[in-house]
């Protein structure tokens, strides 16, 4: 019962209801946006991975003689207030955002799945301790906990990843626990038990494949949330230390020249928004698919 209102509110907010009759045209349009989202994620991933080898100027090279340059063939998206190439910095920022954005939820996914599945499968005292711990962690606004921990641990991409990953553990634990609870009572689990399967085997071979889909859908949403969180922390100057480029840091720097060169703040903001939107779209599509499959039998 505890937290039931919160849970139901969130779930209801996220599940699309009153299903529209999926006419051919509309489904085609949805597939089309999904494809665009996947293409954007692919492009950002390519930029993040191949960035250092792309024929772009050094993202940290300052050219004080050419600050806030207009868009040109030499600098596709111009230069910032320190004469640094904006495109190079966007690409370098993609590296930070995606590295933190993917690795932090992975930490949360790994720990949260283990904890949530164990709690949902074994129940009893373990379940009480795990849910209690989750409730304590969820009492802290995530950004507050992140900032407080960053303040003590110091700034670096690795530390930020670990902190954000830790903060994601409760959410993943909840998803894994809820899914495990529903599947653990099914016949095939009882059958496996009757056949003498070990707990570990049941958890890994019988339950994990079923729990995996909602977790992966949530993982994509978590990536979107993490990209925003990393952006916020970097915007506050508490993310990756300067001069290393990050989208949030670029927005903060660009804010200073909103009157003369608004694009310096808008470009990283738009890139961040589209990336977040893309991950949300793919996550939503995946969730819709898993929901449909679950309601089928």
């Amino acid at each position: 019962m505890r937290g039931s209102t919160r849970g139901s509110a969130v779930v209801r907010a996220e599940t699309p209801v009153a299903p529209h009759p999926a006419t051919g045209v509309r489904r085609a349009r949805r597939d089309w946006t999904l494809r665009l989202a996947l293409a954007w994620i692919g492009m950002m991933t390519f930029a993040a991975v191949a960035g250092p080898w792309l024929p772009l100027p050094d993202p940290n090279h300052m050219d004080m003689l050419d600050p806030k340059a207009a868009w040109s063939t030499a600098h596709w998206f111009g230069t910032d207030a320190f004469g640094r190439d904006v495109l190079s910095r966007l690409v370098a920022g993609a590296r930070v955002s995606l590295a933190v954005g993917v690795l932090a939820p992975l930490v949360g996914l790994a720990c949260g799945t283990a904890l949530g599945m164990a709690a949902g499968y074994f129940r009893g005292r373990l379940d009480t301790v795990v849910t209690g711990g989750i409730d304590v962690l969820l009492a802290f606004p995530p950004l507050v906990l992140t900032l407080a921990t960053v303040a003590y641990l110091g700034q670096s991409a690795t530390k930020l990843t670990l902190i954000l990953g830790f903060i994601f553990i409760p959410a993943f634990t909840r998803v894994a626990r809820a899914a495990t609870l529903t599947w653990a009572q099914r016949e095939f689990v009882h059958a496996a038990k009757a056949l003498g399967a070990t707990h570990l085997r049941i958890l890994l071979r019988e339950l994990l494949p079923n729990v995996a889909m909602p977790l992966i859908a949530f993982f994509l949403v978590a990536v979107a949330v993490t990209v925003v969180a990393e952006g916020a922390v970097s915007f506050l100057g508490l993310g990756v230390p300067p001069p290393q480029a990050s989208w949030g840091g670029m927005i903060a720097e660009g804010r200073e020249s909103l009157d003369s060169a608004p694009a310096l703040a808008f470009l990283p903001a738009i890139v961040m928004f589209v990336t977040v939107l893309a991950f949300n779209l793919v996550g939503d599509a995946l969730r819709a698919r898993t929901d449909a499959r679950r309601s089928a039998p």
Binding site: R12, A13, E14, A139, L143, V228, F273
Partner: protein
């Protein structure tokens, strides 16, 4: 109902104890030492040891925690390492600003969410519904910093209607006060409305299919009356809950917005203490924010249970 309230309150104790313990441990276990912060990196080891003794830092962890908790329970969160001001006093000073911001943000969010949700629910699946459901989905992906930057650019740089930053207390006049809150409240409201809209839309669509709505329509009541009186009220339970939860979350979660618009609220106190490495203020503020969140959540849960009997009987 009495039993439900008692159980809920009883469960609060371990959670609050856990919150206090975690807040304390973040400060106590992670690297970064109050004594070094106060005296600077090149203080002599003797001076550091003496200060640690004075502050009680040489005591065992459990003793320090109990001492800190005992003081916190009496409302003493210590004194700022930078200004010497009492942390509880600093929080009390800044709380009204944050509360005003959060309330105004909810007004903006509800002002957008309710009419749009009604419009969507009336013709679910129609053009208006599809458009605004799409807008809401996209809005959920807009980072707060982005909407803040866009608003500053539009209203402060281009139109020059509002100051980019600046806070005026109420006694400097309502207009100046509201002008300072306009963009921050709008930024938060723009982030909050999609979730509220989706919740209300869902509930409204469900309510509109109930028998008593058909009954009201059959009686020949005006469609607007059916919608606003008969349908809206029973559909707003989740909306009210979510709004309550948002208020609790934003007490500490308005950090970014307060920082961008230089509003002297709780969030800014928190960020300022991080920049200044003022660990006592940081610890006290985090404890306050988390405790407030727990209490607001409980109040919302209780209110919800009071409104919906199914909850307190554990039917859900």
């Amino acid at each position: 109902m009495g039993g439900f309230v008692a159980r809920r309150l009883l469960y609060l104790l371990p959670v609050l104890l856990g919150v206090a313990l975690l807040t304390f441990l973040i400060g106590a276990l992670l690297p970064g030492d109050i004594a070094t912060t106060m005296l600077g990196e090149d203080a002599t080891p003797e001076a550091l040891a003496e200060l640690r003794r004075d502050l009680g830092l040489d005591q065992p962890l459990a003793v320090r925690f109990l001492g800190w908790l005992g003081q916190a329970l009496q409302g003493d969160l210590g004194r700022s390492l930078r200004t010497g001001q009492s942390v509880a006093g600093a929080i009390a000073e800044r709380l009204p600003v944050t509360i005003q911001l959060v309330v105004l943000a909810q007004v903006v969010a509800l002002g957008l969410a309710i009419p749009i949700a009604i419009g969507c629910a009336v013709h679910a699946g129609g053009r208006f519904d599809r458009f605004f459901s799409g807008v809401a989905f996209a809005s959920l992906s807009v980072p707060t910093v982005m909407s803040a930057i866009l608003l500053i650019w539009l209203f402060a740089v281009r139109l020059e209607w509002l100051p980019a930053t600046g806070y005026a207390p109420l006694d400097e006049g309502l207009a100046a006060n509201l002008a300072g809150f306009a963009m921050p409240a709008l930024t938060l409201g723009l982030a909050e409305w999609p979730a509220l809209m989706r919740v209300l839309r869902t509930d409204l669509i469900a309510t509109l299919q109930e028998d008593f709505i058909a009954m009201a329509r059959a009686k020949g009541l005006r469609p607007s009356r059916v919608l606003l009186v008969h349908a809206l009220k029973p559909s707003s339970l989740t909306l009210v809950t979510l709004t309550g939860l948002n208020v609790g979350r934003l007490l500490g979660g308005a950090v970014i917005v307060e920082q961008i618009f230089a509003l002297p609220g709780i969030g800014r106190l928190l960020i300022g203490s991080i920049y200044a490495r003022d660990l006592v203020t940081l610890q006290g503020t985090v404890l306050f924010v988390a405790t407030a969140f727990v209490f607001v959540n409980m109040a919302v849960d209780l209110a919800y249970a009071g409104l919906d009997p199914r909850i307190r009987r554990g039917a859900r």
